[in-house]
Structure formats: structure tokens, C-alpha cells
């Protein structure tokens, strides 16, 4: 019994250790859990969001990051964008609607420029998870010590420049006074005055208002759209799959009920 308790204890400790911070040093709304990603709230049925996301992707990301397993036409159709409109506004260069979404940048050159070839992003949302991407995109900050002048809270010392800088504006890493936590989990108070004590905590991101093309809320919303598009990219058949799945399971339930009735009928013979 004692051994069993010990084992259970070891396991519970292990499980806690397992949920290590997926989002690096990012501090979100929950101050106690550094590295917890923000929820991207992806929704593959939100076509308008996917369209806006595709627009941002094609304009800001596609220069370096291909979507080489996907085709333009499929994206246009799934996102309900008229083919002509899509061709005019979202296909750059002389690629055709039926082509895969590739880029012209040579991987070797890219490696020389950025230190690493920018990865293809067709499946990135599957690899990292949408929440990671969403948080990552919001977490660039000015860091003069880096070659490109920017760093990222989620992916430290990342080689990617902040291509969304103009849209977002100047974001810096700052320290803040936050209420101190007592050992019992509540707020720490001064024993004499009863005032809540505070401590300085660093690693917060602060956006200088008015430096970007859009407001902070609008930027976050844009990044959600972009993330939503990337999540769609990884799993373009999700909506169709779940619709088909619903009908399949509905049919199977009917089948199972009939099979059960048949079984019950035959079972009568045996007694």
C-alpha cells in the first residue's frame, strides 16, 4: 500500500512537470503561469475570418513561407472567394489557380540571409498548435541586441524579422509592479496597514499606442484571423469531415439499434 502511494505520488509529480510552458517566456493574463499560450479561438466555419487571414498571409507571409502542399484553387473555393477575384488580388506573379502555393525564394539564399530557411507553413498549425502561432505572432518586441532588432517572447532569439511591425507598432519588454502573492495563495498584505503589497515582475509586453497602423485590439483580431487561416491550412477538410462524420455516426446508431433488435430476437431461441 505504501509503495502504491509512493508510486502515485511520483506520478502526480511527473504529470505536473509534464505540462511545461509551451509558449516560452510569454506572460499572458494569467500571471502565475508563464509560457501559457493565449487561446486563438480558431473556428473553421468563420469564413470571413479565414478570408481576412488569407489576405494577410498572402501579403505578409508568402514572400518567405510557402504553402507548398496546398493549391490556390482549393483555398479560393473553400474560402468562398470568387476565382477571378482571388486570381487578381491574391496570386502574385504568374502562377495559375491550379498551382501549388510555392515561392520563388531559393532555400540556400534564404539560409544565408536569415540563418535558417523559413519553413513551409502548410502544416505548422498541426505541428505547433494554433494557440502557439497566435501567441507567437503577437509576441515580437524591440531588442536592439539582436541582428534584426527584434526578439520574441515565445520563441527566443528567433531568426524571423517582425514583418508585422508596421501593422502592430512598437512593442517593448517592460517590468511592472504586480500585487504580491502570499504563501496561502491570496494577496500579500502589509501586516500593519493592511495594504496589498506589490513586487516588480519583468517580461511583460507593452505596445506604444498609436505607433502601429491599427489598434491593439484590431491587431489581435488580425492575428486571430491569420491563425485561423493557418489552422484551416493544416486541416482543410475539417468542416467537411465533421459533417460527414455526423451522418456516418447517425447511420451507425440506427444500424446498431437494428442489429441489437435482431440479436435480441435470436437470443430468445437460446432459452
Amino acid at each position: 500500500m505504501r509503495l502504491l502511494t509512493l508510486i502515485l505520488l511520483l506520478f502526480s509529480a511527473n504529470f505536473v512537470a509534464e505540462s511545461a510552458a509551451p509558449c516560452g517566456n510569454y506572460i499572458g493574463d494569467d500571471l502565475d503561469h508563464i509560457g501559457t499560450c493565449d487561446d486563438a479561438k480558431v473556428d473553421p466555419t468563420d469564413i470571413a475570418s479565414l478570408q481576412r487571414g488569407a489576405q494577410i498571409y498572402m501579403n505578409y507571409c508568402l514572400g518567405c513561407h510557402s504553402l507548398k502542399y496546398a493549391r490556390y484553387k482549393r483555398v479560393a473555393e473553400d474560402l468562398e472567394i470568387p476565382l477571378e477575384l482571388f486570381k487578381e488580388n491574391l496570386i502574385f506573379g504568374d502562377q495559375k489557380l491550379g498551382d501549388l502555393i510555392t515561392i520563388g525564394m531559393e532555400p540556400k539564399e534564404a539560409k544565408a540571409w536569415y540563418g535558417n530557411t523559413p519553413p513551409d507553413l502548410t502544416l505548422e498549425a498541426g505541428l505547433r498548435g494554433p494557440d502557439w502561432i497566435y501567441t507567437y505572432l503577437k509576441s515580437f518586441y524591440i531588442d536592439e541586441s539582436r541582428p534584426l532588432g527584434v526578439n520574441n517572447m515565445v520563441y527566443e532569439n528567433v531568426g524571423m524579422p517582425n514583418v508585422l511591425f508596421n501593422m502592430q507598432g512598437e512593442q517593448r519588454r517592460v517590468c511592472k509592479e504586480v500585487p504580491a502573492k502570499a504563501s496561502n495563495g491570496g494577496l500579500k498584505q502589509d501586516p500593519l496597514t493592511g495594504k496589498v503589497l506589490s513586487v516588480e515582475k519583468c517580461g511583460f509586453l507593452e505596445l506604444a499606442e498609436g505607433t502601429g497602423e491599427v489598434t491593439k485590439e484590431q491587431f489581435d483580431s488580425n492575428m486571430r484571423d491569420l491563425t485561423n487561416f493557418m489552422a484551416y491550412m493544416t486541416d482543410p477538410a475539417k468542416v467537411e469531415r465533421e459533417t460527414v462524420g455526423f451522418y456516418v455516426i447517425f447511420y451507425l446508431i440506427i444500424f446498431t439499434v437494428l442489429a441489437y433488435l435482431l440479436y435480441r430476437e435470436f437470443k430468445k431461441d437460446l432459452h
Binding site: 508510486i7 511520483l10 506520478f11 511527473n14 509534464e18 507548398k68 502542399y69 496546398a70 493549391r71 482549393r74 519553413p119 502548410t122 502544416l123 505548422e124 498541426g126 505541428l127 498548435g129 493544416t234 482543410p236 477538410a237 469531415r241 465533421e242 460527414v244 462524420g245 455526423f246 456516418v248 455516426i249 451507425l252 446508431i253 444500424f255 446498431t256 442489429a259 441489437y260 435482431l262 440479436y263 435470436f266 437470443k267 431461441d269 437460446l270
Partner: protein, 412 residues
Amino acid sequence: MVTKIMSWFDERLPITATIERHLTKYPAPINMNIWYLAGFLLIVVLVIQLISGIWLLMSYEPTAEGAFASIQYIMRDVEYGWMIRYMHTTGASAFFALIYLHMFRGMMYGSYQKPRELLWVIGWFTYLLLCMLGFTGYVLPWGQMSFWAAQVIMSLFGSIPFFGEELLTWIRGDYLISGITLNRLFALHVVLLPLALIVVIFVHILALHEVGSNNPDGVDVKKFKDEDGVPLDTKPFFPYDIVHDLYAVGVFLIFFCFIMFFYPDGGGYVIEYVNYEAADNLKTPEHIVPSWYYTPYYAMLRAITFPLFGLSAKFLGFVVMAAGIAIFVALPWLDRSPVKSIRYKGVYSKFFLTLFVISFFVLGYLGSVASTPIRTILAQFFTCTYFAYFLLMPIYSKYEKCNPVPDRVTLS
């Protein structure tokens, strides 16, 4: 007319006799319970895998350059390609889940005991083939985890003393895992192994129908027969078991389709997230973990951290892992109990079987996470308890006090 046609065929091919022997007159014990469904469901999954596999094969490209992209081609450009692929990936996990239940059923009710020793051994071969199929198939998408899992598992052969390195190069066909390795694993996965699996399963069923099905009480149903020579406590397999199995198939497919259509990744267990990245031999993933169905054995492999008698720890780990899979074969000869079913076996058998199940699950968990010193100690401990079930069986099964076995089956 029909009778005439049938007799024409029967004179040339034993159609009616075969149907009678294997279906309409095959005596199935009346007390078979839910554990006995796994066998039938395994056949269903086999069919799912064969059909979905053939369709995947129509669009898959077995080259290091094209494999990963061809999977995405299947997922995006092939009509319902995603359905075919998810059917196959979910089917792989279902195959293992069911075969583990099927094996556990045999262990619980002593289905490996005389006269079913050979049946058990043949069944073990299907498990071995399935392990090979799972491994070879896992490499084919040529993702990061495919590549590195292949790297780890194949490198085990390199740990064999004296000729290990040469053997490894011969198996890989190259000095590293490459397109050549992919091609040979592909050949094994789509031709040799499935062919062997079908043959072995066929022989498994032939052997089963020769000795007859065991039952939860482990009593011999053939002891008491009616005036026609039909065992009293049995029912014909067709239609009585078939209708029962049909109902079970419905329930099973609801679960199966739920995963396939709504959670095809299975939370990273059915398809690992790392495999969303194409294989890159210059970039090792942080944690290399095998599919969930191998994790107990992977934990055993990693549990051996010390060299012994001049043999490397890696080789010893390999030996322990292989022994963990192979030891099932010895079960019919390790069990000295006069009774078959766990229902009538003594307290020690019950204790060790429980311990085995706990060990299997704990090792399965340990094999799926990164190792730490504490986890290694746990893995060593549970590897010992895993083997204790088998190796101590000749002693505890012989000397424990069993309960009296009834003459005929009991119905709850």
C-alpha cells in the same frame, strides 16, 4: 434448382461442408462474454486496413523525395483521401487495442492451455507480424517521427555484438536511414507482411475450429453432448454469434468513426504532432517516442541503463524488449495450473495477473514520456514485475489452492 446447383458444386468443392464446419455447425459455448468479441472485431479491422491500404497505395509515392508530399496530396487533392488515410491510421491503433484485449482474454481464461497451445502460438505470430506492420507502416509518411523512430529502432540491430554494425547496414541498405530504407520497408509493409498476416490469421482460425473455443469458465464443453453429438452448452456460431457480433460491430464502429471523423490525431496518440514536419536527418526531435502501442516495450528498452558481462546497455535493453514480446509464446508451458480460467485459479494467479496489467500500463505511460532518473527506476521495477508474472508462474500456478471447477458452464 438451387439444391441441384449446390450439389454440383459440392461434388467438386466442399462448399456446404465448409460452411457447416465453420459457421452453421461450429459449436460456440453459450457463456462467451464481451471479451470474446475482440477476435471478430480484429477481422473487421483487418478488412478495414486492407481496403484503406489498397486505396492509399493508389496515390502514395514511396520515395524519400515524394513520400511526405504524397501524403499531403492524399489529404488534400484526392477525393475523400483524408477519409481513407484516417481510416488507416485509426485502424492501426484499433488493431493494437483489440489484439491486446484479445491476448488478455486468453491470459485471463487460460485459453492457451492444452489443447490450445498451438492456437496461442499462431496467435502470437499474428501479434508479431502486426508489430512489424505497425513499424514499417509508421515510417512510410516520412515525417520527422517516422524517420527518427526508424533510426532508433533500426539502430538496435547495430548493438548486437560482433556483427551488429554490418547487420545494421545490411538491413538499412545504406549507411544511414535513407530512401533505400524507405523503399524496402514499403515493400515489406504492402506485400510480404500483409500476405503473411492473412495466411497466419487463416491458420489461426483453422486451428481454433479444430480445438474449439474456450469459454470464461475454462470447462470442456465437449464433455456433455446431446443425442446428435452436439455439445450441450453450445450454440451454432451462425446465426447466433454472428448476430451478436454484428451488434458489437455497430458499437465498435461508432467509437471508431468518432475518433476517425472528430479526433483523427487522437490527441497526438493516433498521429503524432511531430510527424507534421517532413523528415530531416539533420534535426533530431526533442523527444523520440514510438506509437502508444509499443510504449511498454520502449520503456523496457530504456530501463536497462547499465552494461553487463561486457555487453552494452543498449544491447541488453534490446534483448529485454524482445524477451518482453517473445515470452508470451512460453505461456502454455509456464502455466502448471490444473484449472484454466482465472475464475477458479488461486489468489496468487489473480495477484500476478493484476500486477502484469498494472506493469503493462505503467510501462506504457513511462515509454511515452521523456525519461528522468525516477522514471527509469520505476521502469526497471515494473519491467521486473512484468516478467515476474511469466517467470514465477510455474511456481505459483502449481502450488496455489484453486477453487473447484464446475462440470458445465455457468451463466450469470
